[in-house]
């Protein structure tokens, strides 16, 4: 900056900030909160992915190829064949599975899932591979390590310090867990040092012997991690590919991460979108602050311009002001965001774990890139928000600025112009909403949301002017305070418009989320009622996550079916399969029974009766609407999937609606699955009781009949309420973001009113001098606050409903591929409108008090 600009900056900005400390602070806090929210969500998303990938790449740092199986794993002899290939330095067998610890009967959320990695614990390191401190081979030299034979034959387990502390374990003691519902006793052989970075604390290492024996995987492995000569990578990869059995694949180590990243993309980008709307609310505040400061210093600007300051210099100074707010506010945001991330990470990880893939977060990954990005983004948004008011400040001609209120006279024309632009944007939003998702992401949906927000905001100034105009004609007879408030409201349309718009966006956000959640809830509850029709639902104790693949014996359903009072048993199982770079669920059930209870909500294709008759025994299947949305498959098409029997085309016989998650599901008959995947185990099953049978009594008999297996048996009502509570938990974070958005918007109201009061100091003094009471002055400010609140609330309500419809009818619809019924929660909308008006009035209290304290004599001295 050149010297005159420095002087300008000092006189125009720093002096001003000093005298407007409170407002400056509020602005900083607002931008700080906005950046904090974005950062917290980004950190949560990054952390969820990082903790998943740490579990994938746990075993060796130089693994450059991975062999992955499907479902239940592949023949362990594959490892020998791979190991014997030239240029394979090392091939490590790995079994990936889970056990449940601490689960109590009747409390489906009581258990913790521990991820078990079965590895060859006796293997030393090959040359050149870095010390794997996280593995026993790496820390079990002379004397201190676990006894090798104890690890193999004694079911030794190596657990984290957290698990040891939480379950009061000790080395040499027993670790009692459930594996697929079977009670299993492991022995704590060693504790992973806290310093071990890679593994998350829910990981338990056991020897491959233990893993195979407790998970029913004798002869099978889930994964082989290979270290091959880097120079021969392509050649070795091809050689391995030639000897792999069908259904296994050889991939680069990052492949699974990428699949999970794609699986989570839609969920994570929705969260990120909401966080950016919060930042947008903060951006309005910056705009507001710079605009107000420009308006307040109009006289000084005019003088400076008259003295020779160039437009560019004035523009630069105000832009700099906004940028400084941006930098300082963003720095504050980094601090807040890091704290907020603790909450966000927990919430995101829980949702990912419940709905998508098993993961456990121990620590937040403070990715410097993410932090830097938030800092940059906050600063850019602030600078951009300051650009428009800075430009206008620079554009004002010296003569015009000398006229105190003349500037506002153009407002009617400008208001109408802006409103026309706003309407155009709303039309554009409507058009974008008609476009389909791109690669599974509702990019046009988001664009429509932005257009809606901007379009509605552009209509605000006209509404402010018009409201003021109308009110002045309506209320002048009743209250001088109200008249003054109405006139002030329209007299400073810019400031008030921005306060109204930012409040409106915050309200819109709340409203749209409320509309979306209530619509989704209605839809999900309806779907749950239709889908979960059986009397009892049986699954391994402590498993609530969809990501967990439990395997119960295929004999179990038969045993239950034999119980008195049982009419029928349906089995379910779902495995995760790679599909076009992401993951889908391949589910199985006895399709022959679907017609009877009609629990599939079929959308198109054959009807249930036909499906039940024709599908069993064939490779025909039913696919979920979201899979259709993702893949473009239609009834009659073939869905080609990897199986241990080679690639199999599954013919799409019908499409059904599924709201359990957005990853996409295909259902095939249990018999077909067992044949193709050599796996007849079941993950859960439902029991239909004969009429008149006491369901609770039947439940007790079911639990008893499977002993010593530990199963959770829930009634339909319990399962439905569990699903709804999981649903609600999923939206906890969104609700928290709403609260923050409204907080920022209310701060905007405080800031606006405070500025208005300060600016009208003289005016108020004169009015007091002319006989206006202290109470009337206070009321005037409060009325104005209420006006901001009501107008912001109404605008928010309208804009929010539009956004809500956009979410439900476009974005959710594209995510699920299936219709989501619209439900507008009128009660809670009315409640939030009331809340906003009250909040706005409360925000007016302090400015009102300041206004009422303005001393007449001092204020009029200049007049």
């Amino acid at each position: 900056m050149t010297r005159p600009e420095t002087a300008l900056f000092q006189s125009l900005v720093l002096g001003y900030l000093r005298t407007n400390r409170l407002r400056s602070l509020v602005t900083l806090l607002a931008i700080g909160l906005g950046v904090a929210v974005c950062l917290a969500i980004d950190l949560a998303n990054t952390t969820a992915l990082a903790s998943f990938s740490s579990n994938v790449n746990i075993v060796a740092s130089r693994v450059n190829l991975q062999i992955l199986g499907l479902g239940r794993g592949f023949d362990e002899r594959t490892l020998v064949a791979v190991q014997r290939l030239p240029n394979v330095v090392q091939a490590d067998p790995i079994i990936e599975d889970s056990v449940v610890i601490g689960a109590r009967q009747g409390d489906p959320l009581s258990g913790e899932i521990l991820r078990v990695l079965g590895v060859d614990l006796l293997r030393p390191l090959p040359e050149g591979v870095e010390q794997r401190a996280e593995l026993p081979g790496g820390f079990a030299p002379q004397g201190s390590g676990p006894d090798p034979y104890g690890l193999i034959a004694g079911r030794g387990a190596i657990v984290s310090q957290r698990v040891v502390d939480r379950y009061r374990l000790r080395v040499g003691g027993t670790l009692a867990v459930l594996a697929d519902g079977r009670p299993v006793r492991l022995r704590v052989a060693a504790i992973l040092p806290r310093t071990v970075g890679a593994a998350d604390s829910s990981v338990v290492f056991v020897d491959i012997v233990t893993a195979q024996e407790i998970f029913g995987k004798v002869g099978l492995i889930d994964r082989v991690d290979c270290v091959v000569e880097p120079a021969r990578l392509a050649e070795v990869r091809a050689a391995i590919a030639r000897l792999l059995p069908p259904g296994t694949r050889i991939v680069a180590p990052g492949t699974r991460n990428d699949e999970v990243r794609r699986l989570l993309r839609s969920f994570q980008s929705n969260l990120a979108a909401i966080s950016y709307i919060v930042l947008l609310v903060g951006a309005f505040l910056i705009y507001n602050t710079v605009a107000i400061s420009a308006v307040q210093r109009r006289t000084e600007i005019g003088t400076l311009r008259a003295l020779g300051a160039t437009r560019r210099q004035i523009f630069g100074v105000f832009l700099l002001e906004g940028t400084i707010f941006g930098v300082l506010g963003s720095l504050l945001g980094l601090l807040f965001g890091s704290l907020l991330a603790r909450f966000a990470v927990g919430a995101v990880a829980r949702t990912v774990d419940t709905l998508y893939v098993g993961t456990h977060v121990d620590r937040i990954v403070y990715d410097p890139l993410v932090m830097l990005q938030a800092l940059a983004f906050g600063t850019i948004v602030a600078a951009a928000s300051a650009a428009a008011p800075a430009f206008e400040a620079a554009a004002t001609r010296p003569a015009q600025t000398m006229r105190s209120r003349g500037y506002e006279t153009r407002m009617w024309r400008l208001g109408i112009g802006l409103a026309l632009g706003g309407v155009a944007l709303l039309v554009l939003a409507g058009l974008s909403a008609l476009l389909p998702a791109i690669d599974g992401l509702s990019l046009f949906g988001y664009a429509a949301a932005i257009c809606t927000i901007l379009g509605a905001s552009f209509c605000v100034p006209l509404a402010v002017i018009a409201t003021s105009y109308l009110l002045q004609r309506l209320v002048y007879r009743y209250s001088s305070s109200a008249l003054l408030a109405a006139s002030n409201f329209g007299g400073t349309p810019r400031r008030n418009s921005i306060a109204v718009a930012s409040l409106a966006i915050a309200v819109a956000m709340i409203v749209s989320v409320a509309v979306s959640i209530s619509s989704l809830r209605l839809t999900v509850v309806g779907w749950v009622d239709e889908t979960f029709k059986a009397d009892l639902f049986v699954r391994p104790l402590g498993i609530s996550g969809a990501a967990y693949d439990a395997r119960l014996s295929a004999q179990l359903p038969a045993r239950i079916r034999a119980l008195t009072g049982v009419a029928e048993v349906s089995t379910f199982r779902g495995i995760s399969l790679p599909f076009r770079g992401s993951l889908i669920t391949l589910a199985t059930t006895n399709l022959a029974a679907i017609a009877e209870h009609n629990w599939l909500r079929l959308e198109s294709g054959a009807d249930a009766r036909t499906l039940a008759r024709t599908l069993p025994g064939t490779t025909g299947g039913v696919v979920s609407a979201q899979l259709v949305a993702r893949s473009g498959l239609r009834v009659g098409d073939a869905l080609v999937l990897d199986t241990p029997s080679g690639k199999v085309p599954f013919r799409v016989a019908a499409i059904y609606d599924d709201y359990s998650n957005d990853s996409g599901t295909a259902i095939v008959d249990a018999g077909t699955f067992a044949r193709l995947y050599h796996d007849d185990s079941v993950a859960m099953f439902s029991v239909y009781a004969k009429p008149g049978v006491d369901v609770l009594d039947l439940r007790t008999r079911v639990i008893r009949s499977v002993s010593p297996l530990r199963l959770d048996v829930e009634t339909t009502a319990e399962l439905r309420s569990l699903i709804v509570s999981i649903f609600n938990r999923t939206f906890e974070l969104t609700q928290a973001l709403n609260v923050i958005a409204i907080t920022i918007a209310v701060m905007g109201v405080v800031s606006t009113l405070f500025a208005l009061v300060l600016e009208r100091r003289r005016e108020i003094g004169v009015m007091r001098y002319l006989g206006l009471s202290i109470g009337a002055v206070r009321n005037m400010v409060l009325y104005e606050a209420a006006l901001i609140g009501v107008l912001g609330g109404l605008f928010g309500l309208v804009c929010g409903t539009l956004l809500g419809l956009l979410l439900v009818l476009v974005i959710d619809r594209q995510a699920f591929g299936a219709a989501v019924a619209v439900q507008v929660p009128y009660g809670s909308l009315a409640g939030s409108l009331l809340l906003v008006v009250v909040a706005a009035i409360l925000a007016g209290l302090y400015p009102a008090r300041v206004a009422s304290r303005i001393r007449t004599a001092e204020a009029v001295r200049t007049e």
């Binding site: 362990e76 002899r77 490892l79 020998v80 190991q83 014997r84 030239p86 394979v88 330095v89 060859d120 006796l122 293997r123 030393p124 390191l125 090959p126 040359e127 050149g128 010390q131 081979g137 790496g138 079990a140 030299p141 002379q142 004397g143 390590g145 006894d147 090798p148 034979y149 104890g150 193999i152 034959a153 004694g154 079911r155 027993t174 594996a179 079977r182 009670p183 299993v184 006793r185 492991l186 022995r187 020897d207 491959i208 012997v209 233990t210 195979q212 024996e213 407790i214 998970f215 029913g216 995987k217 004798v218 002869g219 000569e229 010593p708």
Partner: protein, 375 residues
């Protein structure tokens, strides 16, 4: 008698520390022991530890000289049923169970380039990843192997060795020129004061060797002389013994000398030290502790393990007219193991102590200098 061990073997430290169970689960060394060949070339899997050790001096067609080491270890893990955690929910018996584990070490010394390469392999018995046949010579650890074929006179065995890692590979055929030399008395080599502190040990002290050595990506056709040891036992060292020094000399006059002494914590040597002098015809003369002297001439300190090794020796066997100096061809021939006790195993030149004339070649093994060895 000799040898350093890999991680698997080092874990026996634990077994020793926790006290041997009342009924020893392992076979122990007992005298007299009569070797039967070729069956005793195979594994003796009831003993705790067993190894087949090859060292040798190779010469490429262009005259370049290499030393090599290729060793296969077998260890039997503790067999104690009380260890098994009783557990319902067992779904079968994993093929990865089994109480035998295998390891192998492979090293090359490049005399001209003065470089040294070494690496290791390990494998469980599972799925044939590691194996040692009983009654015949066939040992495998991952992709490395040692295979024997009995020759007509049945005491001799032609053997093929294979090891490969990165740009280095060893493919050799070795043929004994003499029958197996059985060390110690009545087939038993005593290593310390305790009852089990002993092993059964024989050597092929002179094997013609030919084959291919790849070093740093370059293939060399090589021939030369190798030495093979086969030794097994259980709880072979006392608590007080930390390792051993072992020497194998192949003299140009057709004789070989093996010297073996066990070092205690305080640096002194146990009185059980022994040697074998093998004449041109293959007859073995046992040497007691008083019949030979080994004096260290210098020291070499490892920058990797900080171990302080003797380096260079004067070896005297007055009754055989031997008074020679051994000089390592490369100072650093340390086998650094990531998880077990590292050791030094290196090729050396044998020179007359007075005339400095080259009299032959030797291999020297020094264990327990980096960490105590427990076998």
């Amino acid at each position: 008698m000799k040898r350093a061990l890999a991680v698997l073997f080092s874990t026996f430290a634990l077994l020793g520390a926790s006290g041997a169970p009342a009924e020893a689960p392992f076979a122990v060394v007992r005298a007299p022991f009569v070797f039967h060949f070729p069956s005793d070339h195979g594994a003796h899997s009831l003993y705790q530890t067993e190894w087949w050790y090859f060292t040798g001096h190779l010469r490429a067609a262009d005259g370049r000289r290499f030393g090599y080491e290729l060793t296969f270890f077998r260890a039997r893990l503790r067999r104690e049923d009380a260890d098994e955690v009783p557990a319902p929910g067992v779904t079968g018996r994993s093929h990865w169970r089994g109480d035998q584990v295998y390891a192998a070490h492979f090293a090359i010394t490049d005399e001209a380039g003065r470089t040294f390469f070494h690496t290791e392999r390990a494998a469980r018995q599972a799925l044939g990843l590691g194996s040692a046949a009983t009654g015949r010579l066939e040992v495998r650890a991952a992709d490395w192997s040692l295979l024997g074929t009995a020759l007509a006179d049945s005491a001799r065995e032609r053997m093929t060795l294979h090891a490969a890692a990165a740009a280095n590979r060893l493919d050799l055929v070795v043929t004994p020129l003499k029958p197996p030399a059985i060390h110690g008395k009545e087939g038993v080599v005593r290593k310390g004061a305790c009852a089990t502190c002993a092993s059964h040990y024989y050597s092929y002290s002179r094997l013609t060797t030919r084959g291919v050595l790849a070093y740093g990506g370059t293939n060399f056709k090589v021939d030369g002389l190798s030495w093979m040891d086969h030794e097994f036992g259980t709880n072979q060292l006392t608590q007080d013994e930390v390792g051993w020094d072992w020497f194998s000399l192949q003299l140009d006059d057709g004789r070989e000398l093996m010297l073996y002494r066990f070092r205690r914590k305080d640096g002194s040597y146990a009185p059980q030290a022994l040697g074998s002098l093998i004449d041109r015809a293959g007859r073995v003369r046992s040497l007691g502790a008083g019949q030979f002297a080994v004096t260290a001439a210098g020291r070499w300190r490892s920058s990797k393990t900080q171990a302080d090794y003797p380096s260079g020796w004067r070896v005297q066997v007055p009754s055989a007219g031997i008074d020679v100096n051994l000089a390592p061809v490369v100072a650093d021939q340390e086998i650094v193991l990531s998880t077990g006790p590292s050791y030094w195993e290196g090729a050396a030149e044998v020179r007359d102590a007075k005339s400095v004339r080259t009299l032959g070649r030797a291999y020297v093994e020094l264990t327990g200098y980096a960490e105590p060895v427990v076998i």
